[in-house]
């Protein structure tokens, strides 16, 4: 095999391994969701219909037949997986609409919130880390704010920001998701704790990078200290952030639930909370499956991107 062929071969194999792992995790998540449905105490038909049902025995029998609750668990599991593969997440009994449609209708405000928070968090973290790495006093001050940021519950931060900026100063609207200004406080609330963690990891990476010989070389070429940090050291340190992608996705998705409730924003979080409080299992499981899918998608894409960029990762 030629050198290029060898590279292509390992690249294909690496890609295949990662895709298989992604499929395995999704299958696991589906199994977990199915197990959760089975674990809810009581008759599954009653669980699906909800507590406030007026369904007649005929309807109940129809549902039992449709979902196959009278068949063996293994058969039920197979048919459940079949529905999932076709993108059918079931129907919410509370809202009488398909789960996929519900999630689709609530997705956009959450995506807006999460993307605004990511951009903000990365910007804050980069500034906080680059300007303080390797300088004792600024470093100490930055560590202090980062400690406070990671220790502050987002739901409380949101309430403090609301009190101060919406009720006292009336700069930002109190609730809703219509305008850009309504996005500012929720995005800051979601971003600050994340920024605290990112800044700590980034600074550690920067300090390792700044100890490398290429920093001296760059300084000798006449670059200013800040230029070295931004142009050379930051690139090295950014690699360590990649390992946090999965954590970041999860934190933003989970954090969005709390932030959306604090700011009374529509979105996946509000939908999830209503579903959990009402035991609307099809919706809860739908959200779980979607977030597992987003997690797997993002981490696989990041993995594959690095596989393509960094030849050292192609083995194994």
């Amino acid at each position: 095999m030629t050198g290029a062929g060898l590279v292509r071969g390992t690249l294909v194999r690496g890609t295949a391994v990662r895709l298989a792992a992604a499929v395995a995790v999704m299958l696991g998540a589906a199994t977990l969701a199915f197990a959760a449905l089975q674990l809810v105490p009581g008759d599954p038909v009653a669980v699906l219909l909800g507590p406030a049902t007026t369904a007649s025995p005929e309807v109940r029998a129809q549902i039992r037949d449709d979902f196959g609750f009278d068949r063996p668990v293994v058969v039920q599991y197979a048919s459940y997986l079949g529905h999932l593969v076709r993108g059918d997440l079931g129907e919410s009994y509370q809202l009488q609409r398909p789960v996929a449609e519900l999630i689709d209708s609530q997705l956009w405000p959450t995506v807006q919130l999460a993307s605004a928070a990511v951009v903000l968090a990365v910007a804050i973290a980069v500034i906080s880390a680059v300007t303080t790495a390797g300088r004792p006093l600024p470093r100490m001050l930055a560590s202090a704010w980062e400690l406070v940021a990671v220790s502050t519950p987002s739901y409380w931060l949101g309430i403090v920001l609301l009190t101060f900026f919406s009720f006292r100063l009336t700069i930002f609207p109190v609730a809703g998701a219509q305008s850009f200004s309504a996005l500012v406080l929720p995005a800051v609330t979601l971003a600050l704790p994340v920024a605290g963690v990112l800044a700590q990891v980034l600074r550690e990476g920067l300090e390792t990078a700044l100890a490398q010989p290429f920093v001296v070389t760059a300084r000798a070429r006449g670059l200013t200290r800040m230029a070295v940090r931004f142009r050379h050291a930051l690139r090295h340190a950014a690699v360590s952030l990649v390992t946090l992608t999965g954590w970041l996705t999860g934190t933003l998705l989970g954090g969005a639930v709390l932030v959306e409730v604090v700011f009374a924003r529509p979105g996946i979080g509000t939908l999830t909370l209503q579903a959990v409080a009402n035991k609307d299992m099809p919706v809860v499981i739908g959200v779980v499956m979607i977030s597992a899918f987003v997690f797997v998608l993002i981490s696989t894409v990041v993995d594959l991107a690095y596989l393509a960029i960094d030849p050292r990762l192609r083995k194994g």
Binding site: A29, P136, V284
Partner: protein, 297 residues
């Protein structure tokens, strides 16, 4: 020696700068030690408040005073009063027990679950290890809060269920750490020596593997406790935990959210209590982590 001597002597300034740097470093270290001591003292105080809140306030947490509703913070009511005239300071103090107990309880349950799963994975051979760790991967692919919400949806709401739900959310993380530690310990010389001596497997695990795995885990659990408090109060804030009359920090915050325009203190002080607790826990936990890392290397 001779190689470093000229470097030191080339300029007296270099000696001065290193000396200056060293004293700056020791000053910072003293400052950080003072911070750890302060955080530790605060945690002791919080524990006392959780055990016996009536030592610190003579007001009952549910005593209403309809003549003085939503009074601002001041001399008579340090943290003000809420919409029913209840003293917010007394409620925050009395809420410490539930909030800290739920956080501690979920950490203990998560540690137990994680230790059992992690040890089982590390000691059960290749197939068992693969099955358990892939299962942990699936759980780790879900956001912790969403996993906790899924658990609440299955178990139902209430303080105990919130505690269990938060524990479930953190089990996979602990399991993975226990497994990694146990794999290292299992291959160490003293365990091999114990195997050579013919020790029975359960004795081996109980006497050698488990104790040496627990050290790093307990250090990690300190920081984990802070996160548990945030999560458990968060679930209460969402209305899934303790019911309305009982003072619990998350539930109080959620009530306070409705009165932000007129009485910010109802929501702000309980949240402040959570934040201060978690900061103190994190300061002590990180100190323990640094000390532990130093001891190992």
């Amino acid at each position: 020696m001779t190689a470093t001597q000229p470097g030191l002597l080339t300029g007296p300034g270099s000696i001065l700068t290193t000396a200056g740097r060293a004293s700056g470093r020791s000053r910072r270290r003293r400052l950080s030690h003072a911070g750890v001591a302060l955080a530790g003292a605060l945690l002791v105080l919080l524990t006392l408040v959780a055990i016996a809140p009536e030592l610190f306030t003579d007001r009952a947490p549910n005593e209403t005073d309809l003549a003085r509703t939503m009074a601002g913070p001041g001399g008579a009511h340090w943290f003000g009063t809420d919409q029913l005239g209840r003293d917010v300071f007394a409620r925050v103090l009395h809420g410490a027990r539930t909030s800290l107990l739920v956080g501690a309880g979920s950490t203990v349950f998560a540690l137990l679950g994680g230790t059992v799963l992690g040890l089982a994975a590390a000691l059960s051979g290749r197939v068992g290890d693969q099955v358990l760790m892939r299962f942990a991967d699936v759980l780790l692919s879900l956001p912790s809060l969403l996993l906790a919400l899924l658990a609440v949806a299955v178990l139902g709401t209430g303080t105990v269920n919130v505690m269990l739900a938060v524990a479930i959310a953190f089990v996979p993380g602990y399991a993975r750490i226990v497994r990694a530690e146990a794999l290292v310990v299992r291959r160490s010389g003293y365990v091999e020596a114990a195997v050579g001596l013919g020790l029975l497997r359960p004795v081996l695990v109980a006497r050698h593997v488990l104790p040496n795995t627990l050290g790093p885990l307990l250090v990690l659990a300190t920081v984990g406790f802070g996160t548990s408090v945030i999560y458990a109060s968060g679930l209460s804030f969402l209305g899934l935990g303790a019911g309305p009359p009982s003072p619990e920090w998350g539930a109080m915050l959620s009530q306070g959210r409705d009165f932000l325009a007129t009485a910010w203190w109802i929501g702000v002080f309980p949240g402040f209590a959570i934040t201060v607790t978690v900061i103190a826990v994190n300061v002590v936990g990180r100190f323990a982590q640094r000390r532990f890392a130093g001891r190992i290397s």
